[in-house]
C-alpha cells in the first residue's frame, strides 16, 4: 500500500482497484459499478490490518500479532530503563539515520551487539577510554539491560577531536553507557551524549538490516545538538570510531557459524544448568535467558541435565 520509508499521509490508495483507506485503516473509497461485488459487500469488513500499538516514553511500539501480550507484560519491568536511554523522558528530536546491511544472521547480531564493548573495541583500549565497571541484567523474556560506567580521560589521547569523549548533556557517568536490548533483536543505546535506537530486521538467513536512528533532546540548544550530531556520526554506527569493527566481526562470526559444531556460551557461565538474571559487564551468558525464552516459544525440547 505504501512504499515511502517515512512521511505523513491521511489517505492510502491501492493502485489496482482504487480502494482508498483513511489513516485509521478504514476503507473509505471503493469505486464500483453494480455487479462488481457481491450484494452483501460491506466496506466495514475490509479495513487495513490494524496493529496493536503502545507508547513507551515516546517510543511507538507496534505489532501485527494478535498473540502479542500487553505491553507491560512484554517489557517485563523495563520501562524505567527505556526512559534512561531515551534522555530521561523520551522527548526526543530526530537527528538522522545510519543504515547498515550486515552480512550475518540475526542471531549472530543479537548475540553479539552489546556485551562485547570492553572486549572488542581496540579504540576503547588504545585510547584508554575503558576505565569503568559495569553490569548486565536479563529478564525472563530475554530482554537485556547493559550499564557501563565511563571514566573519561583528560584528553582524547592521540586524537585531536575531544568531542568524541565529551559528556555535555549532564547525568551520571557511572551510568554513562546504557543499553536496552529487546529480545529478539532491536535495541537502544545511550553512550555519552549519543542516543540511538537500533531497529533491526532480518532480511534472510544471511542478512540483517539495522537502522541506527539517532536523537537529540527537544530542550537541547543548537550547540548541544551540533555536538550530538558530531559524536553520533563519528563514534557509533557502521563507520564510527568505536563501532566500525562490529559489522566486520558479525560477518566473521557468521562465516564461522557455517562450520560444524554448536555455539556455546562460556564467559560468565558458572553452572551450566542454571540461567541467572544478573551478569558481569562482558559476560556472553547474558544471551542465555533470551535463548531459553526462544526455546519455550518455539517448543524445542531441552536436553536433560547430566
Amino acid at each position: 500500500m505504501e512504499t515511502a520509508p517515512r512521511g505523513n499521509k491521511l489517505r492510502f490508495g491501492c493502485p489496482y482497484h482504487r480502494w482508498t483507506f483513511d489513516s485509521t485503516g478504514r476503507l473509505v473509497g471503493c469505486p464500483n459499478k453494480p455487479g462488481d461485488y457481491p450484494d452483501d459487500f460491506d466496506r466495514s469488513n475490509y479495513p487495513l490490518a490494524r496493529p496493536t500499538m503502545a507508547l513507551v516514553h515516546g517510543l511507538v511500539m507496534v505489532t501485527f500479532s494478535e498473540q502479542a501480550p500487553p505491553i507491560d507484560v512484554y517489557l517485563d519491568g523495563l520501562h524505567d530503563s527505556i526512559a534512561e536511554v531515551l534522555a530521561g523522558d523520551g522527548r526526543l528530536r530526530l537527528l538522522g539515520y545510519q543504515k547498515v546491511l550486515l552480512k550475518a544472521n540475526w542471531k549472530t547480531y543479537a548475540d553479539n551487539d552489546t556485551y562485547h564493548a570492553g572486549l572488542l573495541h581496540t579504540a576503547f583500549r588504545m585510547l584508554n577510554w575503558q576505565g569503568g565497571k559495569g553490569y548486565q541484567e536479563a529478564n525472563a523474556r530475554g530482554h537485556r539491560l547493559y550499564v557501563g560506567e565511563l571514566s573519561l580521560p583528560e584528553s582524547a589521547g592521540r586524537l585531536h577531536d575531544p568531542s568524541l569523549i565529551e559528556h555535555r548533556s549532564g547525568g551520571d557517568l557511572s551510568r554513562g553507557s546504557v543499553s536496552v536490548r529487546f529480545f529478539p533483536i532491536s535495541g537502544m543505546t545511550r553512550h555519552l551524549d549519543s542516543i540511538s535506537i537500533r531497529f533491526a530486521n532480518p532480511l534472510s538467513v544471511d542478512e540483517t538490516e539495522v537502522h541506527y536512528t539517532y536523537f537529540a533532546h527537544v530542550d537541547d540548544d543548537e550547540k548541544l545538538i551540533k555536538h550530538r550530531v558530531r559524536q553520533a556520526s563519528n563514534l557509533l554506527g557502521p563507520c564510527g570510531l568505536v563501532s566500525m569493527e562490529d559489522a566486520a566481526v558479525f560477518h566473521r562470526l557468521h562465516s564461522g557459524s557455517q562450520t560444524p559444531g554448536d555455539a556455546v556460551f562460556q564467559m560468565g557461565v558458572t553452572d551450566e544448568y542454571v540461567i541467572p538474571s544478573e551478569f558481569g559487564q562482558s559476560d556472553e551468558s547474558s544471551n542465555l535467558p533470551g535463548w531459553e525464552y526462544y526455546r519455550k516459544v518455539m517448543g524445542y525440547e531441552k536436553a536433560p541435565a547430566g
Binding site: 537527528l95 592521540r158 585531536h160 554506527g237 557502521p238 559489522a247 566486520a248
Partner: protein, 163 residues
C-alpha cells in the same frame, strides 16, 4: 595567473589524485588533497538524509584536525581490526561553478567497487555524488569541503575508508 581553460584540468587532477589515494589506501595522500584551512571538512552522508534535511552523517570530519584524526583512525586505531578490502573509484565531473575569484563548487558522480580480501569477489559498493568546494591557486587545487552523498541509504557490512 591561470587561464579559465586550465581550471577544469586542475580540478580534475585534484579529483584524480583523491581517488588514487583512496584506491591505494594511502590516507596521508588522502589528507594531502585537503586545504589546511582550519575549517576544511569531509562529510559522507546519504541522499535520503540530504533530502530529508537530517544533519546526521556517516562520517562528519568538519575541521582540519578531524581530518587528521580520520587518518589516525584508519592507519593506527583500526589497523588489523577489520577484514580489509580494496576499492576502485570511478568519477565523472558533472558541474563546476565559480563562487569567488579562486573557489569553485564542483559536482562529480562517483562509483566505487569493493573487493573484500577474504572473498576476493568484486562487487559494486556505492554510487553517489561528490559536492565539493575547491580552492584553486596558482597551479594547484585543494578541497576546502568535500561531501560524498551516497545514492544508497545503506552501507553494506561496514565502511573503514572514506568514499
Amino acid at each position: 595567473m591561470m587561464t579559465d581553460t586550465d581550471v577544469p584540468a586542475v580540478i580534475d587532477a585534484l579529483q584524480t589524485r583523491y581517488i588514487a589515494a583512496l584506491d591505494d589506501r594511502n590516507m596521508e595522500a588522502w589528507l594531502a588533497t585537503f586545504s589546511k584551512d582550519p575549517d576544511a571538512s569531509y562529510t559522507c552522508t546519504t541522499a535520503e538524509s540530504e533530502e530529508a534535511g537530517l544533519p546526521l552523517a556517516l562520517i562528519l570530519d568538519d575541521t582540519y584536525t578531524r581530518l587528521q584524526d580520520r587518518v589516525t583512525y584508519v592507519t593506527q586505531i583500526w589497523a588489523g581490526t577489520f577484514a580489509d578490502y580494496r576499492t576502485r573509484h570511478f568519477i565523472q565531473r558533472t558541474a563546476a561553478r565559480p563562487v569567488s575569484d579562486n573557489q569553485y563548487d564542483v559536482e562529480t558522480n562517483f562509483m566505487v567497487a569493493c573487493t573484500p580480501v577474504e572473498t576476493g569477489r568484486t562487487e559494486l559498493f556505492m554510487t553517489g555524488m561528490y559536492f565539493d568546494r575547491v580552492v584553486v591557486d596558482s597551479n594547484d587545487a585543494l578541497f576546502l569541503a568535500k561531501k560524498a552523498v551516497m545514492d544508497s541509504s545503506m552501507v553494506e557490512r561496514f565502511m573503514a575508508y572514506p568514499l
